[in-house]
């Protein structure tokens, strides 16, 4: 038995070695192409990123930067969790079929390298060790995903930064004006409908087993800031986390909301566990006894608006929330 094993192991090793001979890529010839329009950028971490020229082959590790790229007219060659993006972010649908580079938390170095990109757009949420390795493949632009002190400003700055790196600054200007126009349009519609200054509570939630968790988007979250920008007041009193402005609560915690609050949420039909407000809660007597539930002030916004996305997502959000409140 043991001898057999030994022979088998030796044969396998030999076979492996033989089969694995050869190369997949010719040895390097060390010919560097000189670019005419080299540029240097300062990214979200203050790191200087040098590019030979505007990047064309771009890999993105987070959905918000994917959205920015797509809205700037740059089709990324690699995207983390493509399926998730198509489910949760439909405001800027992918126009090409990018390669899936793995999870958003741990994108695969092998795949990124095999795409040989000019630029990798990552966020500051990625582990430093991973960023360090990616720098070996291509310049890495680390974008600050969220900033609790100025979410909208950060979002627009990110678009500008990515636009500079991809040579699409004209498009970035359009995105900024479009967004500002949409905010003004939303504000006007709400004022006309006499909804200006109304309190709003935006949340998402999920169900596991027999439990419902609710995640409030406080005033320092991106959605919270957009709400204020279109003239609504954020009703959540709790403090969110520093970067994203998110808090957590349960159904009881909703009793602290003002009586005349407008409650809005986003779910996904693709994901049954993310829709407690139409599912698990409909029979809950705490939920049913909430004044704003009784008054019918609960609004499900459109699916596919990524709550941590870019200007296109936020425009979709404004359309959806204004539509719901002025109905």
């Amino acid at each position: 038995m043991r001898r057999l094993l030994l022979t088998a192991a030796a044969t396998t090793a030999a076979a492996l070695t033989l089969a694995a001979c050869g190369t997949t890529e010719p040895a390097a010839d060390k010919s560097e192409k000189k670019a005419s329009e080299a540029l240097t950028l300062k990214d979200g971490k203050g790191t200087e990123v040098k590019l030979d020229g505007p990047a064309k082959k771009v890999v993105a590790t987070e959905w918000n930067v994917v959205e920015s790229l797509v809205s700037l007219g740059v089709d990324p060659v690699g995207v983390a969790d493509v399926k998730g993006y198509t489910t949760w972010d439909t405001s800027a649908p992918l126009k090409n079929e990018p390669k899936d580079i793995g999870t958003r938390g741990e994108p695969s170095m092998d795949t990124v390298a095999s795409l040989a990109p000019d630029l990798i757009v990552a966020t500051t949420d990625l582990p430093p060790a991973a960023v360090k390795q990616m720098r070996e493949v291509a310049p890495v632009l680390e974008v600050k995903s969220a900033d609790g002190t100025d979410q909208i400003g950060q979002m627009l700055d990110n678009v500008d930064l990515i636009a500079k790196a991809t040579g699409t600054t004209d498009k970035a200007k359009t995105i900024r004006t479009d967004f500002e126009a949409k905010v003004a349009e939303g504000k006007k519609a709400l004022t006309e409908a006499k909804m200006a200054g109304r309190e709003i509570a935006f949340a998402d939630g999920y169900v596991t087993s027999n439990q419902v968790s609710i995640r409030p988007y406080t005033a320092t979250s991106l959605i919270g800031e957009v709400n204020e920008a279109i003239g609504l007041k954020n009703a959540w009193k709790m403090k969110g986390d520093e970067a994203y402005g998110l808090a957590s609560t349960d159904v009881e915690g909703l009793t602290a909301l003002p009586k005349d609050v407008q409650f809005a949420y986003i779910a996904s039909d693709e994901d049954k566990n993310s829709t407690p407000f139409t599912g698990a809660l409909t029979k809950n007597s705490v939920w049913k006894s909430l004044p704003f539930v009784k008054a019918g002030d609960v609004h499900r916004l459109n699916d596919g608006i990524w709550m941590f996305g870019g200007p296109r997502s936020m425009e979709a959000y404004i359309d959806s929330v204004v539509g719901a409140l002025t109905k």
Binding site: R2, L6, A9, T12, A13, L16, A20, C21, G22, T23, T24, E25, A27, A28, G84, T87, K99, D100, G102, T103, G105, E106, S108, D110, T111, A113, S114, P127, A129, A130, K132, Q133, E136, Y206, V207, T208, S209, N210, Q211, V212, S213, M238, K239, S248, T249, D250, V251, E252, G253, T255, A256, D271, K272, N273, A280, L281, K283, S285, V286, P291
Partner: protein, 689 residues
Amino acid sequence: MAVTATKPAARPSTAPASRPGAAAVTAGLVLLVAVLAVVDITQGTAAVGPAEVFKALTGQARPDDASVVIASRLPRMTAGLLVGAVLGTAGAVLQAVSRNVLASPDTLAVNAGSYLALGLVGATGVSLPMIASSGVAFAGGLAAAAVVLGLSGLGTGTVRLVLAGTALMLGLNSMTEGLLLLFPEQTDGLYQWNQGSIAQNGFDGVLQMLPIALIGLVGLLLTARRVDALALGDDAARGLGVPVRATRVTVVVLAALLSAAAVTLAGPIGFVGLCAPALVRPLARRFRGFARSRTAMPAAALTGAALVLGSDVLLRTFVADDLSVAVPTGVVTSLVGAVFLVVMALRLKDTAGAGAPDRLRIPSRAVFLTTLAVLVAVLVGLVIAAVLVGDSKLLLGDVVNWAQGRAGRTVSFVLDTRVPRVLAALCAGAALALAGTLVQAVTRNPLAEPSVLGVSGGGALGAVVLVTTAPVAGTWGIAGAAFAGSAVTAVLVFGLAARGGFRQNRLVLVGIGVAAATTALISLLIVLTDPFNATKALTWLSGSTYGRTMPDIVPVALALVVGIGVALARRTELDLISLDEDTPRLLGLPLGPGRLGFLVLSVVLSSTAVACAGTIGFVGLVAPHAARALVGRRHVRVVPVALLLGATLVCTADLIGRTVIAPAQLGAGLMTAVIGTPYFLYLLVRSRR
């Protein structure tokens, strides 16, 4: 064996004088549970305090306050009560029938089986009605228990039982964690649920689980007398006309049913099943009434309920409302349970001597050399495969080019990132295997292993503390923090267990307690500092070589070189120490310093491995056992074989984790357990013959 001889000695329950004592204690427990329940109802995120609760209960409250009490507070309290009682009882009977203080729904893998079954259903995105999902959980839990009991043999050695249970639990939990990482959207919140939470959405769940729990509890009470008979030993029980096998099977099925009900209702709330009976056991010595299962079971149930409700109350008292929602109840029960477990372990009169050493044949030199040669060949093949295979497949010519520094851009990058990962896996695996070998030899405890004893967990805690407080920590900083964490836990565990000379159960109980506490503290730390990054916690806890570079491997490689040197130089001493207490003394060997040296070495080895690749459990447990089974117990043979096995195991795990679901990846630690479990169970089966 003379059946009659054991009868008077082992039937302590025939002391009628202490009945009132037992009744008083039971009454006290009921009172405690009642007080905790009332306090629990007054706590929560809504502004509904004691006054409103009182009004609600007397029917004078405003309707919205009343609905909070009825739809949120009361269900939560009832769930806590039910889950605690059910787990306490299940633990008590499992310990009684297996005559093993370590048996519980956790260690028999019942919880893990249920959890995996539910995780699988969750990942498919199918939402089942509650009753159906509890059926799924029951099937999973029962299957796991059946495997454990089947493999370890009903009523045979307790160490085997716990070994098989722990192994299967690790394997199943790793698979579930893999699901969580693979389906982060579908299983959003499942990580939190993984820790267990008694919060409820209305009474529906409790009402549906209640009948199941009652069937289980009543069934167990009916078997109580037979369970008592089993406590006398199988032969004695048979002598009394008790069907041993049937009783065991019935009890295990009922206990699995109870655990499944608890898991469906609140997720796996750890430790209650292990702790509650452990807390009741000393009562049995003082009040004879509790020696009977019929009274001990309700006492364990009450203690379990008190543990769960107490943890919930504690959490909601000391943590701000909004945060307390995010902290899972199970984290707190683990912390509370861990402290209790350690205290109990110290007071435990450990009568169980060291388990009989594995009965092993002594293989010839040829067998040893062949094994070594096969392992080396396998490892070499594996390393080649690991370097070539990944998201992008390479060929040997690429590697040659790379080694000569003339590879193309893509190849050199792929190898620059892949080679350190392969090396990290090899070094971490070997280091953990060596650490396990040393600890098992020194403590003469087959269950002793850096991760079971909490040493790895302590290392991970140290590293996570540093990573969350100082984001720019470097390689040596993390290795240092991991070592500090490991050293503190090691001093704690070994220091506490040293009294009375590393007795089997005490060491493992203290170790399991500390290990659970470190896991809970890591979860707590992540929830409190970075609440929306469960992946970060999972990555740390599951062990991963993701993003490793060459400098990260230096500490573990150095530790490994020193470790191998010391282990081989002092192989004879290791042989003697692992034999028994007296032989080394007779030969004039000073036991203390030698033991301490080996322990320090194993702590260094496991902490550097943690710093390099996270907590990879299981290798330290499996590799030494497997090595002894293959080549006998002499350390000159065990050490090299264990090293090779450890390296092979982690390297395989890393390779599979990187490739099967590429471009997404699973941590090596998860894959280690998934691969290691079947092999370990196979070894258990084989050594039974």
